[in-house]
């Protein structure tokens, strides 16, 4: 029996510019105890659907039609105070950002028991006991003590556990999780997803999991609804959807995933354009303007949601993939997007070492009190060495707080290393200063993570792009203009857009603009710090393709920093894995990814969700337990030992050194590496490849 039945739901938001049809005829159902995944790019109405169910619409929002039935009871027509009883009691919701969802001035215990007091006829004491109970349920260590603490005393993952505890305090029948793990590291993400899944089973709840990440729901959702432009465009069982997507949009989302092309390193497919403006949605099929199979019919007539069987429905006249009956044992025929370029990065010619990091150390002082007395140091980077050869890409991965960003900042001179050196062309950059230093800056440029924050909001694109040239005194005004026009062409932006302000660009376009700025000084090395982490998959594919194309064209060298292993693997020749300020493993991309020697690397790879339901379901209870320890008092010996499944006594006393493993400059720092050292393994490693 369906717990939640939504039919033809329409939500409108009244804005100054007009009415946004944020949810436009959505029909969904969620059965008791099942998980429904809702996926789509940002701006497709996923979150708005969730907020409509909760009736927590923003100002100007209203339900314009349709019905939502919760266990057979219509809830769209409830009065506000009746709806208040439903919220938190029957339906609960957890949000993306746990820090802004918790009140910083109350203890978490007070906030959880508030939810209980509102819905249950209990005393304060009982409510508080319930808070401890649910905190315990969500796996909070020492729940009895921690219930007295304030939100800022918890880590991101623990805060999300508190949010889940609050949502579960009244044992709702339905839990709506809106991007519950987007702000978290993969290792913590895995823990939280497992927790939600486990609680669903134990409490018999239904879960609606809203996400942009096809990997997150692959192993957890029973059914998936793909949303586009306020409509559900495809819905079916998870395995059917992943094996045989019928709607071109779903298919395109899969093709844009870098993990699919990680081994072949083909150009990624990117969906052209952006989701339509929901004030004036296009006639006909809403995906038609971006669809590679669209015909005139698609542009004039709107397809209905149906399919060959009622279990798999889609909104398309010309579905892709295989017919339902033939799906057994036969893979979908995916025609190649562009001519596959036989572009094995590994074989690509790489030159001499351009950039060397030698024993880089960065400590940040921790101060306290009025006099700013130093009470300790945060060991952000603790002795990291690597080198990058001309024309190659070194990918740096690790959880947040592992020091990868600090390394990037030291390379471009935003932070000065406490000790150690950055050698560029054999010259120590960290030592030179003043005029000469500013001049040398141009050879190593930085691409910021948040393109919006890194572009001055009050400057036009043209002024932003001219600034590096003016600062370095390169060329006359006319030459500068010509160079900017040329560069805009290279990154694929119209030259006339120099008059625009950063906020008039979309996320992907801004990232192109940031890249153009970095390229204008003809640098040799680009340090890119999470350049695609804020982008949707389709746009991410565009930016990654652009970076690859320009690397080949201009012979650039990249240091690519990311928390996303699949992106790093797709783009890099070499991968360096960092943990708590240490480089724990480094080697060629395939070596590190396919034959990790360090247990941390293995754990990271296993934690990263892949868009493959079978693989995802298969890996139960793997990954990394616990959270990153404080860098103020890093563990002695091997820093990873506190979370390591195979740690022994020697790990807490002797710090392991980087030793060679496998083939081709593969190093790892572990006493009990997952493969025998290089000398022994040299012959057997080649066999493993096949």
């Amino acid at each position: 029996m369906a717990l939640l039945e939504i039919s033809d739901l329409r939500t409108e938001i009244q804005l100054k510019e007009g009415v946004v049809h944020a949810v436009d005829g959505v029909t969904l159902h969620v059965d008791e105890g099942e998980t429904l995944g809702v996926v789509g790019e940002s701006g497709c109405g996923k979150t708005m659907t969730a907020l409509t169910i909760m009736q927590l619409l923003p100002n100007g929002g209203r339900i314009a039609g349709g019905s939502i039935k919760l266990a057979g009871r219509e809830i769209t027509t409830l009065k506000p105070d009746e709806m208040r009883k439903v919220r938190g009691d029957d339906i609960a919701m957890i949000f993306q950002d746990p820090l802004s969802s918790l009140n910083p001035t109350h203890t978490v215990g007070a906030q959880i028991s508030e939810a209980v007091l509102l819905h249950r006829d209990v005393t304060k004491k009982e409510a508080y006991d319930r808070a401890v109970e649910v905190l315990d349920l969500v796996g909070m260590p020492r729940a009895k003590e921690r219930v007295e603490e304030y939100p800022h005393q918890f880590s991101g993952g623990m805060r999300q556990r508190v949010m889940i505890a609050m949502a579960l305090a009244c044992e709702p029948k339905l839990l709506i999780a809106d991007e519950p793990t987007t702000a978290l590291d993969v290792t913590i993400q895995k823990q939280i997803l497992e927790l939600i899944d486990d609680l669903r089973r134990r409490l018999g709840m239904a879960v609606i999991m809203v996400t942009h990440d096809l990997g997150v729901i692959a192993g957890r959702a029973d059914r998936v609804a793909v949303m586009y432009a306020g409509k559900v465009v495809e819905t079916t069982d998870t395995s059917a959807l992943y094996e045989n997507p019928r709607h071109p949009y779903t298919e395109a989302l899969f093709h844009a995933l870098p993990e699919k092309s990680a081994e072949t390193r083909e150009r990624l497919y990117s969906i052209p354009g952006a989701p339509p403006d929901l004030v004036n949605p296009p006639q006909g099929c809403r995906f038609a303007p971006r669809c590679r199979y669209a015909t005139d019919k698609c542009r004039t007539e709107a397809p209905e949601l149906n399919g060959e069987t009622s279990a798999h429905t889609y909104r398309c006249f010309f579905p892709v993939g295989a017919k339902e009956k033939t799906v057994q044992g036969q893979l979908t025929v995916i025609e190649p997007i562009a001519a596959p370029e036989p572009d094995a990065l590994v074989d690509q010619h790489v030159g001499d070492v351009v950039l060397e990091a030698r024993d880089l150390v960065k400590d940040f002082p921790v101060t306290s009190g009025l006099m700013r007395r130093k009470i300790g140091t945060v060991s952000a980077v603790a002795g990291v060495s690597f080198d990058i050869r001309k024309g190659e890409t070194l990918g740096l991965v690790g959880e947040s707080g592992c020091g990868k960003t600090t390394i990037g900042r030291m390379l471009v001179g935003l932070d000065k290393p406490t000790s150690g050196s950055v050698l560029f062309g054999g010259k120590d950059l960290a030592r030179s200063s003043g005029r000469e230093y500013r001049h040398e800056r141009r050879d190593i440029q930085y691409m910021f993570q948040d393109s919006y924050a890194s572009l001055d909001p009050r400057m036009r694109a043209g002024t932003i792009l001219r600034e590096p040239l003016v600062v370095q005194g390169m060329g006359s005004r006319r030459e500068q203009h010509a160079k900017i026009t040329e560069m805009l062409g290279k990154v694929g932006l119209p030259a006339s857009w120099t008059e625009r302000y950063p906020h008039e660009f979309s996320g992907g376009q801004r990232q192109r603009l940031g890249f153009a700025r970095a390229l204008l000084l003809d640098p040799q090395v680009i340090v890119a710090d999470e350049p695609v982490s804020a982008l949707d998959v389709s746009v991410q594919a565009q930016v990654l393709n652009m970076m690859r194309d320009l690397q080949r064209e201009l012979g650039l060298t990249y240091l690519f920093i990311s928390h996303d292993l699949s992106v790093v693997r797709y783009l890099s020749n070499h991968i360096g894995v960092m943990y708590l300020g240490k480089l724990v493993e480094i080697g060629t991309a395939d070596e590190v990814y396919l034959r990790p020697a360090h247990p941390y690397t293995k754990g990271l790879i296993e934690s990263a969700p892949t868009a493959d339901p079978e693989l995802e379901r298969a890996k139960v209870h793997e990954g990394i337990v616990g959270e990153l320890p404080s860098a103020i008092h890093p563990p002695t010996g091997c820093r990873f030992r506190t979370r390591c499944p195979i740690a022994q006594e020697i790990c807490s006393t002797v710090e392991p050194e980087l030793k060679p493993y496998g083939v081709g400059n593969h190093f790892a720092a572990c006493h009990f590496a997952l493969q025998p050292p290089a000398e022994v393994a040299a012959s057997s490693a080649t066999e493993q490849v096949s």
Binding site: P272, A274, V412, L455, E467, V471, G492, S506, L521
Partner: protein, 304 residues
């Protein structure tokens, strides 16, 4: 693939429609400004009062140099539309002359204090550390002085001309501006676009002038318009204490002060209300303009 084709292809990939040349920055800023009706009203009044004070005397000619005791406190009439004051000056003519002083002092003091305070605050905030600590203690010291007393002493020591009064007022006003801008700078200093200047090899001064100050412009403009209003009021206070500009020059505050001598002697309303209303409306207008300007300079609110 030629360059043009490549661009066209990517434009198609990004789903762009070929863009037309956008309009100028000031036109777009003006559109935002014009949406604020109070700002428009303020602007209209300020233009009116500027014309009144600086063009008015050429159209409505009165003798503002020699006293004429035959017109002592004469009532409004066809000859003197708002009557005369205790020295026989025509009240409307007096408002024009007094308004010149008030507006000149107000605008000039605001510009001097805001420009200096902004640079001081931005440099202090950007430099940080010991420099910041020393620079800010100077401001703290300045702000802790009882400004009215010092103002009175200064205007006794220096012969009160328009120029000296501008500087006396500006000296006290910039402390507040500096403190506000410093706070804003510290918030902006760690923004990535300010750090980006360092990556491209720019000097710190460039970061301050090209990035921090323009982004603090909202705060600065609002503070600037407050400064105009405050300076006009401060001048009024000095005038009220008979420490303003020396006769026969005058300002609205001095007029108010001399009018108050007759407040109990009879119904001499034309000595009090006109300068009082001028002061109030001018100050409010500048504040409205400040609000509207802040929005106008917010690029995100502009339409293309």
């Amino acid at each position: 693939m030629s360059e043009a084709q490549a661009i066209a292809a990517t434009e198609a990939e990004l789903g762009l429609t070929p863009s037309d040349k956008p309009r100028g920055m000031f036109i777009r800023a003006w559109e935002v400004f014009a949406e604020n009706k109070l700002g428009l009203a303020g602007l209209a009044f300020v233009i009116f009062i500027l014309l009144f004070c600086f063009v008015g005397p050429h159209l409505y000619v009165t003798n503002q140099v020699n006293t004429d005791l035959t017109n002592y406190l004469c009532h409004p009439s066809g000859q003197h539309l708002l009557g005369c004051d205790d020295l026989g000056y025509d009240e409307i003519g007096r408002l024009m002359v007094g308004g010149q002083t008030s507006l000149e002092v107000g605008l000039a003091a605001a510009v001097v204090s805001v420009v200096f305070g902004t640079l001081y605050g931005a440099i202090s905030g950007f430099a940080g550390g010991i420099t910041d600590a020393i620079m800010m203690r100077v401001v703290d010291a300045g702000l802790s002085l009882p400004y009215l007393m010092v103002l009175i002493i200064l205007s006794v020591i220096f012969h009160p001309t328009v120029t000296t009064i501008i500087f006396i007022i500006a000296i006290f006003y910039w402390f507040g501006v500096a403190r506000l801008v410093r706070g804003e700078t510290i918030a902006l200093r760690n923004r990535e676009y300010v750090q980006a200047v360092k990556v491209i090899g720019g000097r710190p001064l460039r970061a301050v002038i090209r990035h921090i100050v323009p982004n603090a412009i909202g705060t600065i403009i609002v503070q600037g318009t407050f400064a105009v209003a405050d300076a006009i009021l401060t001048l009024s206070v000095l005038g009220f204490l008979t420490l303003g500009v020396a006769p026969p020059a005058t300002d609205w505050g001095s007029m108010l002060s001399s009018g108050l001598n007759y407040i109990q002697g009879g119904n001499y309303w034309w000595l009090i209300y006109p300068p009082g209303i001028c002061i109030i409306l001018t100050c409010i207008s500048f504040n409205f303009i400040g609000d509207a300007l802040r929005d106008a300079f917010e690029t995100r609110l502009q339409r293309r």
